[in-house]
Every structure is written in structure tokens, then in C-alpha cells.
Amino acid sequence: MTASTINTNLASVNESNRKSPLRYLHPATIPKPLRGWVIPALLLILWWATYRFGWTQSQLFVPISKVWETAVRLSSTGELWQSLAASLARDLVGFVIGSLIGLLVGGALGLSRLLEDLIGPTFHTLKQISLFAWIPLISLWFGLGDAAKVAFLALAAFFPVVLNSFEGIRSVPREYIEVARVFAYSRTQLLTRVVLPAALPSIFTGVYLALIYAWLATLGAEYLLTSGLGIGNLLTDGREHFWMDYVILGVIVVGIVGFLLNWIASRVEARLLRWRGRSVAQF
């Protein structure tokens, strides 16, 4: 670890400051687990104090308590949950469709050089188009409803899955295939026992990225194709009516959902790839 090494160098510098009465305020004196909370706590205090002492008259400023009240109100009327459910359902459907098609295409490109040569260049060209630039085209072709949103989400999930499953299959070590040949594996055996397990980590990276992109795209789709319910619509509503409490609540909810999606994906990945950690110990 670089950091610790450099820190030992710094330690000698700190030695001279030891006698200072200010030493208790030095950042290093606060216990480690608490350190992450210091800045958020200071910010919250600043927020609270701004309201308490009336430092700003801005219409945009809302006290923490108001955000909390809005959160309670919207969740008791069910508006928050309905929006959240609508967004998540969309996110999931688009993600699943996009990932499945992505897996098929990526797998086909990875397994067949002919297909790679035929479709690869076109795919790599289309990939360059910034994701959100597709929305106007999609909205003309699919309308403004859920079909368009799901199509857009599927597209967002599609690209990373294709790229990573293709890379994963292509980077299966040649030796593995040779061993499988020695064991006279059939084509299906080769695929299910060698290629797929070896490519799985990379495929998972793609699916993971797809999950993150799909959530980003969910928000984008809800901003740009404004119809129906969703967290994006909640945020847009709040902005249009200058309800800062709505907007802050929306941002927090978006953050929590993003965090949970990340967490679930990393859990699933760790579980599915558990065999990798043990395989060495078995020999």
C-alpha cells in the first residue's frame, strides 16, 4: 500500500505538532469508523442552521423537516410507491429484454467468426451513438408510452452485455479448449462446461454495467418521454412547480435505488462466481 508508506513519512512531520493544544482537532484523532460521517453531519448542521437562523430568504430553500414531511406524506398516500414501482418495473423489463438479446448476440458474435465479421463492424459503429440520441428516433417509432421506454431501456442494457459477453468468450484461454478436445467433449459439453464458465465473469461485468445503464436510462426516458408515472416524472413535476422538497426527495430515492441495484448485483455475482475461489483449494 502506497498510502501507508507515504503516511509513515508524514508521521515524522506530525511528531513536531504533538505538543500543540490543537492536536485533538487533528483529523487523525477521530476514530476511523466515525470519519465518514463527519462531512455529511457538518452539511446537515449547516442546512439546519441556515433554516434556524434564517440566513437565506430564497424560495428554493426548504428545511430538512419539510423534506421529511413530504416523504411521509407521499409514502402514506402511496404516490411515492406507485412511482417507484412503475419505474422499477420498467427498468427491470427493459433490462431483462436487453440483456437476453445482448447475450444471444454477444454469444453468437463470440462463437462465430463469420458472424463477427458480418455484424461486428456495424455494431461497433452503432455503439458510438450517444445513448440518449436514440430517444427521438425511438419516440417516433414506438410512441411516448411504455413501449418506447422499454425499448430504450433494452437498448441501454443491450450494448454493454454484447460487448462483454463477446470479449468474455473470445478471451477463453486456448489451453482450456485443447484440454476439452483431449477429453473429447461434444460441442454442447464444450460450451456448457468450458466456454460458459470461463466467460462468465466477463459476461457478468456486462450485465452489471447494463443494470447501471438501465437505471440511468430509466430516468432519461421518464424525463424525455413524459407520460405516465415514475420517479423521473416525480422529479419533473417537482421542478416545474418549484417544489424543492419533491426534487430533493426524488434525488435521494434515485440514489438509494441505484445503491440497492448495485448491491444486489454484486451479491449475485459473488454468489454465482463462488466456485472460482474454491477451485484452487480442491486440487
Partner: protein, 283 residues
């Protein structure tokens, strides 16, 4: 997949056995490249033909799918009357300014977190929470705080670049192998020498990866903001065409969006290749 029958004879080609065989092998050497070149065209051509047929026989309304000629003509018109260039320049300026700011702050944050564990303890949790909300999640909040002017675009683009750059810089510095540091200590390197000659060169590939991701994300975010709130720029051109039901304008602008994204990434890849030349020279 791996059993690609590559012609593995260049050694025998050097033997002056027979001129005819030599020629055949030379041909075989560039045949794969030629094959790739030839095979890249049928698929896009097929789509193009299908598109032409569909629009000529009006299987779909021309507002939804204009003929390829219309798109080409529009493209030429937009190029000639300067619409494409002026909007492209504006978008380009925004992405460079926002990316520069975001990458600069991200680099500073990443270096700080990578070099000082204390700083990391304080900042990292908040940074992670901040990163959980996708760029688009911050959009409504920013719109309320800074309006929909130039500042909005620059801040959002900067945020999109900041997160991957900071994260990769931090991880890159953190994962510098301890052995490198040990060797540097044996040589009695000063702190600056350690940083300049060991830590940064070793962390550079990962940092640069973050920079490339950052630029891609910046471009993505910029197009999204321009679609949502702008009166100029490539994203605006797309919205404008969409509102007037001029799909030819939309498609032309989408092509340029893709091209700019491609060029931006290519430039960074070239810089990387140039900066990392020393790696190959070492062996």
C-alpha cells in the same frame, strides 16, 4: 471458436524454396484482413436496401422513415448552411469545458484519497453516496439551483466526468504493488521521486481508463441535457427536428453525435498509445 485455421507458415516463407509458394503465403497473410473488409459490408448494405425499399414504397410513413436520399440531402444542406457546424462547435466546447473541470477535480480527489488514508476516511463515504445518483438524477435539482443556462450543462458534464476519474485514480494509486515501493525505498527515493517515478507511472493506465470513461460519460450527459434544456447544440438540433417531424434532420444530427463521440474516444486512445510507449521499450 479457437480452432481458427490461421495460416502459420511465415517461417517457411523466408526460405527461398519456391517463388510460387512464397506468393501464395503472402496472399494468405493478408487474406484475413481482406475477408474482414469484405464481410463488413453485406449487413449494413442489407439494412440500407431494406430502408430504401421501405421508404420508397412507403411501407411506413415518410415522417417516420424518410428515404436515404432525403437524409443525405438534408445532411448536405445542414453542412452547407452551417447549422451542423455551429451546433457541433457549441456542443464540443461544452463537453471540453465540463470535462476539463470535472476531470481536474476528479483527479485531485482521487489523488488525495489514494495518497492519504485519513482524507479517504473522511471523503470516500460521501463521495460514494454522491456517485450513487446518476448524472441525470441531479438534473432537476441543478435546474432549480442554477437555471437552464450554460452553467447547468457545464456542471452536469463535469459531474459525469468527475466520478469515473476520481474512482479510477483512487483505485489506481491504491493498487500500486507494494514491491515497487519497496524497491524505491531501497534506492532511497525521496517522496517526490516516489510519486513521480513509481506511483504515477504505475497507476497511469488505470487513471487513463477513468479519463476515457469520464469523457464518454460527459458526452452522454451533454447530449441528454441538450435534449432536455437547450436552445443550441447537437442535442437541440435533434429535438428541433423531432418537433417539426423532420426525421431527416434528426438522423443527420444523430450521425454527427455518433461521429463526435467516436473522435473524442479515438483521440484519447491515441494519446494513451503515445504516452505508454515506454512500456514496450522496456523489454
Amino acid at each position: 471458436m479457437s480452432a481458427q485455421a490461421t495460416v502459420d507458415l511465415p517461417l517457411s516463407a523466408r526460405q527461398p524454396a519456391s517463388l510460387g509458394l512464397h506468393r501464395v503465403i503472402r496472399l494468405a497473410n493478408w487474406w484475413p484482413a481482406l475477408r474482414r473488409l469484405l464481410l463488413a459490408w453485406p449487413f449494413p448494405m442489407a439494412i440500407f436496401v431494406l430502408w430504401s425499399l421501405a421508404s420508397h414504397y412507403q411501407w411506413v410513413a415518410p415522417q417516420v422513415l424518410p428515404t436515404p436520399e432525403t437524409v443525405l440531402t438534408t445532411f448536405g444542406d445542414l453542412l452547407r448552411n452551417g447549422d451542423l457546424r455551429s451546433n457541433g462547435v457549441i456542443s464540443f466546447y461544452r463537453v471540453i469545458a465540463g470535462f476539463g473541470i470535472g476531470a481536474g477535480i476528479g483527479l485531485a480527489l482521487g489523488v488525495g484519497m489514494g495518497l492519504s488514508p485519513t482524507f479517504k476516511d473522511y471523503v470516500y463515504p460521501l463521495f460514494k453516496a454522491f456517485a450513487q445518483v446518476p448524472s441525470l438524477g441531479w438534473l432537476p435539482l441543478l435546474m432549480m439551483l442554477v437555471g437552464i443556462d450554460e452553467a447547468l450543462k457545464i456542471i452536469l458534464v463535469a459531474k459525469a466526468a468527475l466520478v469515473p476519474v476520481a474512482l479510477n485514480t483512487f483505485k489506481g494509486i491504491e493498487t500500486v504493488p507494494t514491491r515497487y515501493i519497496d524497491v524505491a525505498k531501497v534506492y532511497g527515493f525521496s517522496k517526490w521521486q516516489l510519486l513521480a517515478k513509481v506511483v504515477f507511472p504505475s497507476a497511469f493506465p488505470m487513471i487513463w481508463n477513468g479519463v476515457r470513461y469520464g469523457l464518454t460519460h460527459s458526452w452522454l450527459a451533454l447530449v441528454a441535457v441538450e435534449l432536455l434544456a437547450s436552445s443550441e447544440g447537437l442535442g437541440f438540433l435533434i429535438v428541433y427536428g423531432r418537433q417539426l417531424y423532420q426525421m431527416d434532420v434528426v438522423m443527420a444530427a444523430v450521425v454527427v453525435v455518433g461521429a463526435v463521440g467516436y473522435v473524442l474516444d479515438k483521440v484519447l486512445a491515441l494519446i494513451e498509445a503515445r504516452l505508454l510507449r515506454w512500456r514496450r521499450e522496456a523489454f
